[in-house]
């Protein structure tokens, strides 16, 4: 129940070997390419509906992607492209969904805010703030009840810490010692309002952990390896019956809140400062500095680029979904009938 406003350093308990490091870099690079391309497609007017990009925040989702077991569950928000992608879906299915194509992950029925891939444990992207926090506790309860040592990971934003569901979910997870990891990505803003202007404590998640008998965990969310270590620690705790964790990872979104937002409410210096702390080049430098050859990273970069180009082509060539599917899958029988 210690309270800390100091960011945690590395414990050295979960060192990554070279192949893991390259894997982590690969995942981050792919997330970045996906987010950048989503943005570019939007600028070309090829995106339908809204999008919320996680560009700048990739280290968090990527580290968890590497750390999680295949059968673990993730729950994320409308800003969930990275979190869903790292579980194993294709780039095409993401781009297709935001472009409203039949190849989309949900064939256009859900849209950018609802990416879900149950077969990959990506149990949904939720667009009402806070709702997925108690739902994630439910998945963790299910894992606990079935005795599978699966964990549930729930990503949410700083703004989400002020809604009632946050409070109910974490109290519930704590009293039932549920194997769930709550990850607050503190990107400093809700939509257009700075989180510090509307929150009674400095660190919206970490300073509230003690209200649920949990340890206060505050980390640099742009440090990919530290995030990996933080993820592994919490996941191990969850699997071994140690109950939930609440992690606050500080980060920044490079673009505005959603496609409609140029993000002008943020001071230029603040943006510049955070862009200088961009997690992807930072991790690239780090890998070079520990002796990884630039050619290995360049190969990943090149592969990423060809993947995203191919996905763009596939999605662009995919037709819109057929009319019929508008009227299916309300019920388990595949239909939508409410009367006989």
């Amino acid at each position: 129940m210690a309270k800390s406003t100091e960011k945690a350093g590395s414990s050295g308990k979960y060192p990554l070997d070279k192949s893991q490091q390259l894997e982590l870099y690969r995942i981050m690079a792919e997330c970045r390419a996906l987010q950048q391309r989503a943005h570019d497609l939007f600028m070309q007017n090829l995106v339908k509906g809204t999008t919320h990009l996680g560009l700048g925040q990739e280290a968090i989702a990527s580290a968890f992607g590497l750390a999680m077991r295949k059968d673990d569950y993730t729950f994320c928000t409308y800003r969930g492209h990275n979190h869903t992608y790292v579980r194993g879906i294709t780039m095409t299915s993401v781009l297709g969904e935001i472009m409203g194509r039949d190849c989309g992950l949900l064939r256009g029925k859900g849209g950018s805010m609802h990416l879900t891939s149950v077969e990959n444990g990506a149990m949904g992207s939720y667009a009402i703030i806070g709702a997925h926090m108690p739902i994630a506790a439910g998945a963790a309860w299910s894992a606990q009840y079935r005795g599978t040592e699966q964990a549930a990971v729930c990503f949410f934003g700083d703004g989400t810490t002020n809604i009632g569901a946050f409070h109910e979910a974490i109290n519930h997870a704590a009293i039932w010692k549920l194997p769930v990891v709550y990850v607050c990505e503190n990107n400093q803003y809700m939509e257009y309002t700075a989180i510090r202007d509307v929150t009674a404590v400095e660190n919206p998640a970490a300073d509230r952990a003690s209200a649920y008998g949990l340890e206060s965990i505050l980390v640099d969310g742009n440090d990919a390896e530290l995030m990996y270590e933080t993820a592994m620690t919490a996941l191990d705790k969850a699997r071994s019956g140690g109950g939930p964790s609440l992690i606050e990872a500080s980060t920044y979104r490079h673009f505005g809140h959603s496609r409609a937002d140029p993000g002008k409410y943020r001071p230029d210096e603040e943006v510049a400062e955070w862009i200088a702390r961009d997690p992807l080049p930072a991790y690239r430098s780090k890998l070079l500095s520990v002796g990884i050859d630039e050619s290995e990273l360049a190969a990943i970069d090149a592969n990423t680029e060809s993947m995203i180009d191919q996905a763009t082509e596939e999605a662009t060539n995919s037709p819109p979904p057929p009319d019929e599917i508008a009227f299916t899958d309300v019920w388990a029988d595949g239909g939508a009938a409410w009367r006989n």
């Binding site: 029925k109 879900t116 108690p134 079935r146 009632g164 569901a165 899958d329 309300v330 409410w338």
Partner: protein
């Protein structure tokens, strides 16, 4: 056949299904050790133990969130929301999450879950603990809605709701928990979406639900005896799926339709049924369609005033006997 009360039938149905499927779990406030504030789940903790029957804090969003998350990942949870009025504090989980998840994900997510809630007035609990909110639920696509009128139906329909692969909101009538009737023993399951013709008749069709069914039956007796009117009483039992076939057949025969609902007047299920008839049975109707409802006013607490507001046997008799 054993005589069971409405509340005993709740526990009987849950036990029946929980015995068959270890993935059925149950959670709510004061439901385990205390057996529920309406004593409808007494005995379940003893039989199924504390990992399957669990008490929760006063956190309705956590209750329904846990229910949804568990249902998505292999369990078949049953949740209790003590009074249906409290659905308002967790309506997001019902209306925006549970009801929409399968559709939004193009059919990926299964949600075999049941939300039980005590519904309706007559217990003098006042405006915040007496509402009939089955129309709130019916207005949300993606959720099935059940509201039984007697203990036998409670057993059969709750069992069916638990077995159903879709989310079901199961409304239990608070004022009826103590009422007994013959309930089939052994495994007993009724289909969802099938109304019950509680009384056959040829002059007027009276469509009712839950606590309004015995009132409609009583009124039908009086209407026969005093006015020589033969009323057919349909107990809807489920609002979604809606058994329009039974309604259509009956009104085609009688030419007259009256609905009796406990929810406040505007946008109730009675309006839905009246509108269906006004479109599909227009040429069969011999008289205006009448809706009998609680007025569009919050409920008063004191018995005398509450009784004025909720549809009574007398009001049904008056309305039906004065139909053109």
């Amino acid at each position: 056949m054993a005589q069971l009360s409405y509340r005993e039938a709740v526990a009987a149905a849950m036990a029946q299904e929980m015995r068959k499927d270890p993935n059925i779990v149950f959670l709510g406030e004061d439901v385990a050790a205390a057996g529920g504030v309406f004593k409808a789940t007494v005995g379940l903790l003893d039989e199924f133990g504390p990992t399957r029957v669990r008490d929760m804090p006063i956190s309705e969003q956590a209750i329904l969130g846990a229910t949804m998350g568990a249902a998505m990942t292999g369990l078949r949870p049953i949740a209790e929301i003590m009074f249906s009025d409290f659905l308002a504090v967790c309506w997001d989980l019902v209306a925006n999450e549970i009801a929409k998840m399968r559709y939004m994900t193009n059919g990926q997510v299964n949600l075999p879950l049941v939300i039980r809630a005590g519904n309706g007035g007559g217990a003098r609990f006042g405006a915040q603990h007496s509402q009939s909110v089955e129309n709130w639920a019916m207005a949300i696509p993606g959720i099935k809605v059940v509201a039984p009128s007697n203990a036998a139906d409670v057993k059969g329909l709750l069992a069916a709701s638990i077995q159903d692969p879709d989310p079901v909101l199961f409304f239990e009538q608070k004022s009826m928990y103590g009422l007994k009737c013959d309930v089939p023993e052994g495994d007993y399951v009724l289909p969802l979406g099938q109304a019950n013709i509680s009384r056959e008749g040829s002059d007027v069709t009276i469509v009712a639900l839950a606590a309004m069914v015995p009132k409609a039956l009583k009124a039908a007796e009086i209407l026969q005896d005093k006015h020589g009117l033969s009323c057919e009483v349909i107990d809807l039992r489920t609002l979604v799926p809606l058994d329009t076939k039974s309604i259509i057949e009956s009104v085609t025969k009688t030419g007259r339709l009256v609905t009796v609902e406990e929810n406040p007047r505007l946008c109730g299920w009675g309006a839905e049924i009246a509108s269906i008839a006004a479109e599909e049975l227009f040429w069969n109707l011999d008289a205006p369609i009448m809706r009998i409802t609680t007025p569009h006013i919050p409920l008063a607490s004191v018995d005398k005033l509450e009784d004025l507001m909720i549809p009574s046997v007398d009001r049904i008799v008056d309305v039906v006997s004065e139909m053109d």
